[in-house]
């Protein structure tokens, strides 16, 4: 991140994650390497917590992780409205939250950026690679569709989007808008996370370049801000993923406004923000 301090041609900013090496047809990017590290860290933290929970011998770390897990699981239960449904959705939404959170925080470590490989940064924030955020968005929206099909049936779910324009013109129009909304949600999900995290990286790079040798004093406030933004974005993605799945399972005869009104207050605000 701070390698540009010694460079004279400005900070290194790249919209696309740089490829580091190739395995067969697969291109391994620097964002994937940090993602691998973040995933390994997340798995270690959770298996450690599971071990502690089984032994009933907790420490501060395991208590903090268990508290976070319990809080988010409670949120999923509130949004889904059912304990059983929440426990089916939780693996997806909770993994999104913890993976995104850990990777958002990992990218602020001093060695992410300065360490290079053939002139390219060896590590890069996972969420600052649009491939990853798009993958999360696709998985979320596909899950929401699968959930909707399980609830309404295949044709019932199609009925949310398609209707006879001659007999039900308003419904057909609403369905068309809903179809567009599904794609816009997908794109918004991917772009929001990518934009915030990539913007944070650029902010840090530019601030580091501008402040030059004073960067060690100037950057910490911005790093704290990025810690906060990283946590907020992880929570927003988690909440939106849960809300979209819950909306897919909601009765589609009811208008979306009333569907939103049935959600808990935090989910309503996030969903409205996502809609806008």
């Amino acid at each position: 991140m701070m390698s540009f301090l010694l460079a004279s041609d400005g900070p290194h900013v790249s919209l696309v994650a740089e490829p580091i090496f190739q395995i067969g047809p697969l291109q391994i990017r620097n964002s994937m390497l940090l993602g691998l590290l973040g995933t390994a860290l997340m798995l270690w933290l959770f298996f450690y917590t599971v071990q502690r929970a089984r032994q009933r011998r907790h420490n501060r770390l395991s208590i903090a992780i268990l508290w976070g897990f319990e809080t988010l699981l409670g949120t999923v239960e509130e949004v889904m409205g059912s304990r059983e449904q929440a426990r089916r959705v939780a693996p997806l939404s909770l993994t999104i939250f913890f993976l995104v959170l850990i990777n958002n925080w990992l990218e602020l470590l001093p060695f992410v950026g300065p360490v290079t490989w053939h002139g390219e940064p060896l590590l890069r924030g996972l969420a600052s690679d649009l491939s990853f955020t798009a993958a999360l968005a696709i998985i979320t929206m596909v899950t929401a569709q699968i959930w909707a099909i399980r609830t309404h049936g295949f044709f019932g779910n199609l009925g949310r989007y398609f209707a006879n324009p001659f007999t039900q013109p308003m419904h057909a129009f609403e369905g068309f808008l809903e179809l567009i909304a599904e794609f816009s949600r997908l794109i918004a999900l991917a772009m929001r996370l990518f934009g915030n995290i990539f913007g944070g990286e650029v902010l840090l790079a530019v601030m580091g370049f501008i402040t030059s040798w004073a960067a060690p004093l100037a950057l910490p406030p911005f790093m704290l801000l990025e810690l906060f933004v990283g946590a907020v974005q992880a929570y927003v993605f988690f909440m939106l993923a849960t809300v979209f799945v819950a909306l897919g399972a909601a009765p589609h005869e009811i208008e979306e406004v009333s569907e939103l009104n049935e959600l808990p207050a935090p989910a309503q605000s996030v969903a409205k923000q996502a809609g806008s």
């Binding site: 919209l15 696309v16 994650a17 047809p25 697969l26 291109q27 990017r29 994937m32 993602g35 995933t39 997340m42 798995l43 959770f46 298996f47 917590t49 599971v50 929970a53 089984r54 268990l66 897990f69 319990e70 699981l73 426990r87 939780a90 693996p91 997806l92 909770l94 993994t95 993976l99 690679d129 649009l130 491939s131 990853f132 798009a134 993958a135 999360l136 696709i138 998985i139």
Partner: protein, 174 residues
């Protein structure tokens, strides 16, 4: 979906943003694997731990409620026992007071009766003694009179003579 990733149009835009179908697929598969691992080995164990904690909390809450109910019952029972004991004690005290009062009255009555009896006996004894004293006094008086008469008459008075003199005296009184 291949057209999405071609070099022209949308494909060009996505490529400029760093999205190609191989990387996207790899990311999707990798994330799904992570979700599967977490869903299979991590979350169920944590949910079980949370359920256990909730069950313990429920049990603790139930035990606390049961203890509170038992405490309330015990307090109620203790209050009832204390009230009964107080009533019994008051009754006992009242009975004892009545008994003491009755005993005192009885004792007083007996003492009075005994005193009256003693007084009556004393009076009777006194009267008896007065009678005895009077009798003895009479006898003594008669003896003294006899002795005095002997001294005056210079003769021995026996019973017959004495009786004769008495009779004569009585006749003279008539």
């Amino acid at each position: 979906m291949q057209f999405l990733f071609s070099d022209s149009g949308i494909g060009g835009l996505l490529g400029a943003l760093g999205i190609d179908w191989k990387t996207l697929t790899l990311n999707i598969l990798a994330f799904l694997v992570v979700v599967w691992v977490m869903g299979k080995f991590v979350y169920p164990a944590l949910m079980k731990a949370l359920d256990g904690k909730l069950a313990e909390l429920d049990e603790t809450t139930k035990a606390r409620k049961a203890a509170e109910q038992q405490l309330a019952k015990a307090e109620e029972s203790a209050a009832q026992i204390i009230a009964e004991a107080r009533t019994a004690a008051e009754q006992l005290v009242a009975e004892a007071r009545d008994d003491a009062s009755a005993l005192a009255k009885d004792t007083e009555r007996k003492a009075q009766a005994q005193a009256e009896r003693i007084v009556a006996e004393a009076r009777e004894q006194l009267a008896q003694e007065v009678l005895t004293a009077r009798h003895e006094l009479g006898q003594e008086t008669a003896r003294l009179v006899a002795e005095a008469a002997e001294t005056i008459l210079q003769e021995k008075l026996d019973g017959n003579r004495d009786a004769e003199l008495i009779a004569r005296a009585l006749e003279g009184h008539k």
